[in-house]
Symmetry: C2
Subunit: 351 residues, 2 copies
């Protein structure tokens, strides 16, 4: 069960949720509270091995085929933000969840929840954007649903997309498959999407335009899979790179070392994060993935990623070590400190 496309916590010791407690914004952050909600309520009730794996997509067998199946609700606010909108985001997000298990996207569904009063013009623009994103990703939207709720019953527009793809034979990627000696590759600069949405929301104009990185990662993933032995792919959305690495360390029970100086961040995003008080390692991405690759294939994977336009700034940012489970950050000045999942909710409704 993914919470937000990927930032699915796989906490080993969830705090039980007491009755009488209320859902908080942080339960949707993709961080520790989301983990508690999922572990405390959903995993027990819907107990099955595929759900428990908490991958970006479930991989299920049907008639001898291995299908990838995934869903994501998009509630981003505002619906229009620099570089894109909720329409393209809702297509790319689900396409990327499929890509993270190595699946090419085949079919999408879209369920719209519209607030009474939404401008038809805006819905039309969003639909155009979805259709274009489907075309670019090579996926067909084959079924949908539309509900309308009264004014105040929702916030403009929510879109839930689900996707079906085909997983190639012999490929078995998963958050629990990291091995000591693997390297951690990041496919592009981090933090861009979150900062783009936040700047729009806060009405902050930065000197340099920062636009969302939302994009389909299928092509880039194909290049990397063809070139290297990959153990895990993960879409670094809610909770950002840091939270994703914490999940992987926990699921694989390994120690990860992340070298801060090697993590690509656009200068404008770094400056904006400094202004907004954000750490780019915890800011959401919508077109960046993390790959755990066999150490011997590090160079091949990096070359393959950089051969794709979306991976021009890919980098090896860390490695899997033997040692106690967790993530260690090697700072720019050479010290080490442990880092943890996003604890609260710095950027609500970012996707």
């Amino acid at each position: 069960m993914t919470a937000g496309g990927n930032a699915e916590p796989v906490g080993s010791c969830p705090t039980p949720l007491p009755p009488g407690e209320a859902v908080l914004l942080g339960h949707g952050s993709g961080g520790r509270l989301t983990s508690e909600l999922i572990d405390g309520i959903f995993l027990d009730r819907f107990a099955n091995p595929e759900l428990a794996r908490l991958g970006d997509s479930a991989v299920v067998e049907v008639g001898g085929l291995r299908l990838a199946f995934t869903t994501d609700a998009f509630v981003v606010t505002p619906a229009f933000f620099p570089g894109s909108d909720i329409g393209a985001l809702s297509v790319n997000g689900t396409v990327n969840d499929l890509a993270m298990v190595g699946a090419a996207p085949l079919f999408l569904s879209a369920a719209f929840i519209l607030e009474e009063g939404l401008l038809v013009e805006d819905l039309t623009t969003i639909s155009d954007s979805m259709a274009e994103a489907c075309r670019v990703a090579g996926v067909t939207l084959v079924t949908g649903d539309t509900k309308v709720v009264e004014r105040g019953g929702a916030d403009g527009i929510f879109i839930t997309t689900s996707g079906v793809g085909l997983v190639p034979d012999g490929l078995d990627l998963g958050p629990d498959r990291l091995l000591a000696g693997d390297v951690i590759l990041v496919s592009g600069p981090v933090g861009t999407h979150g900062v783009a949405v936040m700047s729009q929301r806060a009405g902050i104009g930065f000197d340099v335009d920062i636009v969302s990185d939302t994009a389909p990662l299928t092509g880039l993933v194909e290049e990397v899979l063809a070139a290297a032995e990959v153990h895990c792919l993960r879409d670094a959305t809610r909770g950002g790179l840091a939270t994703v690495l914490c999940e992987l360390a926990s699921a694989s029970q390994v120690r990860l070392l992340l070298r801060e100086a090697d993590v690509p961040v656009l200068d404008a995003v770094r400056a904006a994060c400094a202004t907004l008080g954000l750490d780019p390692l915890y800011v959401a991405n919508e077109g960046v993935c993390v790959a755990a690759v066999a150490g011997s294939d590090a160079d091949a994977a990096l070359r393959a990623a950089r051969s794709h336009p979306l991976g021009a700034r890919a980098a090896i940012v860390g490695l899997v070590e033997s040692g106690p489970e967790g993530v260690q950050l090697e700072t720019a000045v050479g010290t080490r400190r442990p880092i943890h999942m996003l604890a609260g909710e710095a950027l609500p409704r970012i996707c």
Copy 2:
């Protein structure tokens, strides 16, 4: 593209939606306005034959298999209503959309949009209800997503489920496959779900408890398909029986005759509809389907439906005639008049 699980209008002459216009509650009714929204915005942009068919589920080919794929957003208010809640409804609704193309349900996804402040206790009850509905329907929930929006950004809880099923070889059901001479079978009494939700919402207590009919129709459908030549199945949710029949008449370009006196309606529901000013033919059902069956198999289909507990009150309620496209109602007193799709929105947020 289904609007609400099934009540998908297939209007032949949609009114274009002018820019500047706003989305109305009626655009989510499953009736004429929904048809205009879907035809005017979505169908052109996502043009493909499967979407254009507007079935309850899309049927797509993957590696030689015929998969059914469907999605529905559930926004029912209140989330708890007599006999059930949004959790079971969200499972049964998608299971039934799969059943309408003859598919047994295999896998479900669930995407939750939660309003900050929702009681964890209520979410737990809803999850229990979903898990039990999955168990009864024999379907596995394998992937999910959870988003939280701030207070006032949504109304408690919305759940979007998507489902994948396998369509048996050689079976090709569709709203465009009705033939003159077919009979129309209804699997149970109509209007019950809508009245159950409305009575809860309005705080109206009826002498006789009216509880939602939400239930998985897979087993009943299997019985009918095994016994009779079926041309179309349709889940009579939003817009009710009348709207569904209008859609089928339009999609197949045939004339349907509906005999009012033969339509099963629980006495308590009939009385409640009289009180509330509703026509049970237009009130939503969540455990009732409509089947178009070859006339020669009418008795066999009826026996098969009645052999299933959910079909004990199944009835043949009409037939497909040659003649101009449309639906004619033969009233209890023997007169005939045309009936049309639900035009506005009598019962918003019923599913």
